[in-house]
Structure formats: structure tokens, C-alpha cells
């Protein structure tokens, strides 16, 4: 994908979350956003997802501008798959119905076609045995994998992950990260907010460090993580890698 962000700003009340962000990535498959909490990475992801309207600035995705107007934003959201930290799934629906709902109601699949697509994706993710269960009967990792299945099923042009493993027990992060890595190997484009440095290093071809509402540093993992140019990045990395 090609991602271009020009002079993007966003405040919540008096709190400046994104201050004049500019970024141009000509050809990137996986962009990882990392940085201290409150640094604006989730907000940036939500702007790209079409869930948050910036105060100023432009976002261009594959040379198409995202127009921040509710109706057009809804169209935009339909073409990207977003996975949140937790509580993604609709608890009143089975895992299977969670996957078919957007296919049927948003993407106008026939019920038959939606079932086929959902079955195909859940089988590929080895989740078919859990298809009939309600989210409450699933483990956190399984829930998150179903949420990813739901996002992938719509054949999005871009996947967005907002700290997909932060709300999980450590032993469950593995299965979710494995799945994301698999999607990476399929050549899917995605943007990922994460605290898992090792994972970011493995899957990302570009890492952007966000701190205090701006992009401190952006580049390939080896460069940003091993030879950071900026003091902020060094401090952040030393704090994260200390324990």
C-alpha cells in the first residue's frame, strides 16, 4: 500500500493528541506504530480506520483521499478491517454469526454466500469447532482470532490492528500473533499498533515511533530499533526493554 499523511492534527478538548503529522510511505506492507502510551498511536490508527475525524490534515491511501464525511467514511470503513484491543465481538451472536453479520448486512452477500465465506475463513483459521459458540464461551485468544476472521472475511484492502494482544493473557498472545504473522505472509497490508517489540521487528517493514503527538522516527525495524537517531526513541526503547 501507499500511505500518505499530510499535516494531520487532532485534539480531544484541550488535549493535543496528534500535532501536525506528516508521513509518506511509498510502498509498505506492514506498518507498526509504537511508542509511549498517550503518544497518539491509537488515535492515528483510528483516523486511518475512519473512526475518528481529524481537526486538520489529509490522509491518502493508495492515492485515494479519505474524505472525513460520515457517509463517505462509512464507505471507507467497509473496505478496511479493524480489530480492537478487546470486546470486539458481539456477545449476543455466535462466533459464526459475528463473521456473517457484516457480510450479509453491509456487503450484501446472500445468506448462503455469507455462510460459505464464513465457513471457508473459519476453517482456514482452524476455528470451525468454535463457530457455534457465543463469545463468552471462548477464550480471549479465540475471541480475538474470530474478530480477525471477521475483519479478513470482508476482503479488506487494509487491516488495522489496535493493540490486538494487550488485553490477553500472555499465553494467548502467541496464537493471535501467529495468525497475524500468517496474514503477513499472505502479503496482506496492515497497520498495527503494538507494544510487542519483538513482534513488530519480525513482521513490520516500517516502524513509526509516535510520542507526544508527533512521529519521532520512522524507518525499517533494524534502523529504528537498533540505531535510533532520536533521544526520545532511545529513552522509550530503554524503558520498554529494561524488564
Amino acid at each position: 500500500m501507499k500511505l500518505e499523511i499530510r499535516n494531520l492534527s487532532k485534539s480531544f478538548g484541550k488535549q493535543l493528541v496528534l500535532g501536525d503529522i506528516t508521513l509518506l510511505l511509498e510502498k509498505v506492507h506492514t506498518l507498526a506504530l509504537i511508542g509511549p502510551s498517550g503518544g497518539g498511536k491509537s488515535t492515528l490508527l483510528r483516523v486511518i480506520a475512519g473512526l475518528e475525524r481529524p481537526d486538520q490534515g489529509e490522509v491518502w491511501l493508495n492515492d485515494n483521499e479519505i474524505v472525513f464525511q460520515e457517509k463517505l467514511l462509512r464507505e471507507h470503513r467497509r473496505t478496511v478491517g479493524t480489530v480492537f484491543q478487546s470486546f470486539n465481538l458481539f456477545p449476543h451472536l455466535t462466533a459464526f454469526a459475528n463473521v456473517t453479520l457484516p457480510l450479509e448486512k453491509v456487503h450484501q452477500y446472500t445468506p448462503q454466500k455469507a455462510r460459505e465465506s464464513a465457513t471457508e475463513i473459519l476453517e482456514r483459521f482452524q476455528l470451525m469447532e468454535h463457530a457455534h459458540k457465543q463469545p463468552a464461551q471462548l477464550s480471549g485468544g479465540q475471541r480475538q482470532r474470530i474478530a480477525i476472521a471477521r475483519a479478513v472475511a470482508i476482503k479488506p484492502k487494509l487491516l488495522l490492528f489496535d493493540e490486538p494482544t494487550s488485553a490477553l493473557d500472555p499465553e494467548m498472545t502467541g496464537e493471535v500473533l501467529d495468525l497475524i504473522e500468517e496474514l503477513r505472509e499472505e502479503g496482506r497490508d496492515f497497520v498495527l499498533v503494538t507494544h510487542q517489540m519483538g513482534f513488530a521487528r519480525r513482521v513490520a517493514d516500517q516502524i513509526a515511533i509516535l510520542g507526544q503527538g508527533r512521529i519521532v522516527e520512522c524507518g525499517p525495524p533494524a534502523q529504528v530499533l537498533d540505531q535510533p537517531k532520536e533521544e526520545v526513541t532511545r529513552q522509550f526503547l530503554s524503558r520498554i526493554l529494561k524488564y
Binding site: A49, R77, S86, F87, N88, H92, P102, V106, A136, R150
Partner: protein, 278 residues
């Protein structure tokens, strides 16, 4: 040699008797055996009967069931009218409640204000006043003479205000993350209500709604002030004709209890169920 039980017979006997009537705080986690529950329910009823018997005995009331029993049909007709009025008012008030709850969340400030004013005025004033006002002022102004229609409408407007708050509570119980997910997959606002909010909110709303229905049935008795031939009004007529008081009020109380008790029990069951699911 085997150790002999050290607790004496009297102590053990006392404990097993105590167990039938009393639970310590720790024991309250466990359910008592069904027969213990049964014994205590019977005991409670006996106590109440004793109080009632004593009260009526000191009253020296001349019971005259024969005069009243001739009007059994009149009671039945009133009872069915009460069911009809309550059921119609429930359907209507649910519509009103859902609509005003949605208006409360609307983008237009004036609609929000109107909905707020409606809820607060209706909830804050006595139903008796509302019925009189609706019948003697509003209905006569618009030349609406059908008492039943006025009665059902007033009752529906009254409980609609309470249902509005129940529905609003249900809608607001749905977390922001659910709305985010709905937006993220591209659902429209209407679709979000249809597929995400209402199916989940209904579990929160239903117990409140069932409880409201029980109140509604009892509140419909106030329609007797505008001479609608429902249960209470009919009972009062019989009372007047036969110069009896308790012979009409006791069947009246039982008639309402028969309707409300199943609903109350159902409500409790619904509440338990929603608790377990969360």
C-alpha cells in the same frame, strides 16, 4: 478403640432444629432443602392468617357473601376489561417509551428537551391528576367521548414515561466498544440499533418492562375515577348495591394478585437470567 462423638445428644438435637429455621451468614451461600423452605412458608402464612383472623374478629363484621356472589359475572367482566385495558396500554406505552428513549438520544436538541420534559412531568405527577386532566380537559376539548380510549391513552402515556427510562437504561448499558465495532464494520446507525444495540439491550430492558406491566395492571384501577367499567369500578358498584365492603374488596385484591403475581415471579426469573449471562 474408636473415638466417641464428643457432642452430646441435646446439642445435636438443638442444632438440627435450629437448621430448620435459621441460617448463619456463611450458610446463606447454600440453598436449604426444599422441605425446610416449605415448612417456613407455611409458618409465614399461618402467622399472617393469625394476624388477619385477629383483626377481623375484633372488627365484628357481618359477612354477607351471598349478596355479592350474585354479581360474579359483573366481577368477571370487570376483570377481563382490566386485562384488556392493561394489555392495550402496555403495547402502546412500549411504543411511546421506545420512541421517546430514542428521541432522547436524537441529534436535535429540541427533541431531546421535549422527551426530557415528557418523562419528568409524567413521572413527577400523580396518575390520578393526569387521568382527570386528560378526561375533563383534553378529551372534552377534542370531543373524544370514548372513555376507554381516553383511559388506555392516559395509562399508556403514564407508563410510557417509565418505560422510556427503562429503555434508555438498556440502550446506555451497551458499551462504547460495541458501538465502535458496529461502526468499524460499516453498519449504519439504524442497522446498529437493529443488529447490535436492541438485541443486547432487550436483556436489560425485559425485567424492567415486566415489572412495569405488573404496576400498570394495578394502576389501571385508577381509571375507575372516570367510570370506566374495569375491575375496580365494577367492584365498587357491587359494593354500593349490596352495602358490602370486604366482600367486594377481597375478591378485588385477589383478582389483581392473580394477574400481577405471575408477572412478578417471571420478572425475578428474568433478572436472575440476565445476571448469570453477564
Amino acid at each position: 478403640m474408636e473415638p466417641v462423638a464428643t457432642t452430646g445428644f441435646a446439642v445435636r438435637a438443638w442444632r438440627s432444629v435450629r437448621r430448620c429455621f435459621w441460617q448463619s451468614a456463611e450458610e446463606r451461600q447454600t440453598r436449604p432443602a426444599w422441605w425446610i423452605v416449605a415448612i417456613n412458608w407455611v409458618l409465614a402464612f399461618l402467622l399472617l392468617s393469625l394476624v388477619a383472623w385477629y383483626a377481623f374478629a375484633s372488627l365484628r363484621y357481618n359477612w354477607n357473601w351471598d349478596a355479592v356472589s350474585g354479581y360474579a359475572n359483573f366481577f368477571w367482566r370487570g376483570w377481563f376489561t382490566t386485562i384488556l385495558v392493561s394489555a392495550m396500554a402496555l403495547v402502546l406505552s412500549t411504543l411511546i417509551g421506545v420512541t421517546t428513549a430514542l428521541l432522547r438520544r436524537s441529534g436535535f436538541f429540541v427533541l431531546r428537551a421535549l422527551s426530557r420534559i415528557y418523562v419528568e412531568t409524567i413521572r413527577g405527577t400523580p396518575l390520578l391528576v393526569q387521568i382527570s386532566f386528560a378526561f375533563y380537559v383534553v378529551a372534552s376539548a377534542i370531543h373524544l367521548e370514548n372513555r376507554l380510549v381516553v383511559g388506555v391513552a392516559t395509562l399508556a402515556i403514564f407508563s410510557g414515561a417509565f418505560i422510556s427510562e427503562i429503555v434508555r437504561g438498556g440502550i446506555e448499558s451497551i458499551g462504547a466498544s460495541q458501538l465502535d465495532s458496529a461502526r468499524a464494520i460499516g453498519l449504519t446507525r439504524v442497522q446498529t440499533y437493529r443488529y447490535v444495540i436492541f438485541p443486547q439491550a432487550i436483556r436489560v430492558i425485559l425485567p424492567g418492562l415486566a415489572g412495569m406491566f405488573a404496576s400498570l395492571i394495578k394502576d389501571s384501577s385508577l381509571l375507575s375515577v372516570i367510570s370506566i367499567g374495569e375491575f375496580t369500578w365494577n367492584a365498587q358498584q357491587v359494593g354500593g348495591l349490596t352495602y358490602s365492603l370486604f366482600e367486594t374488596y377481597i375478591p378485588l385484591a385477589i383478582g389483581y394478585l392473580v394477574l400481577t403475581l405471575p408477572i412478578t415471579i417471571w420478572t425475578q426469573w428474568l433478572e436472575r437470567r440476565t445476571r448469570f449471562e453477564t
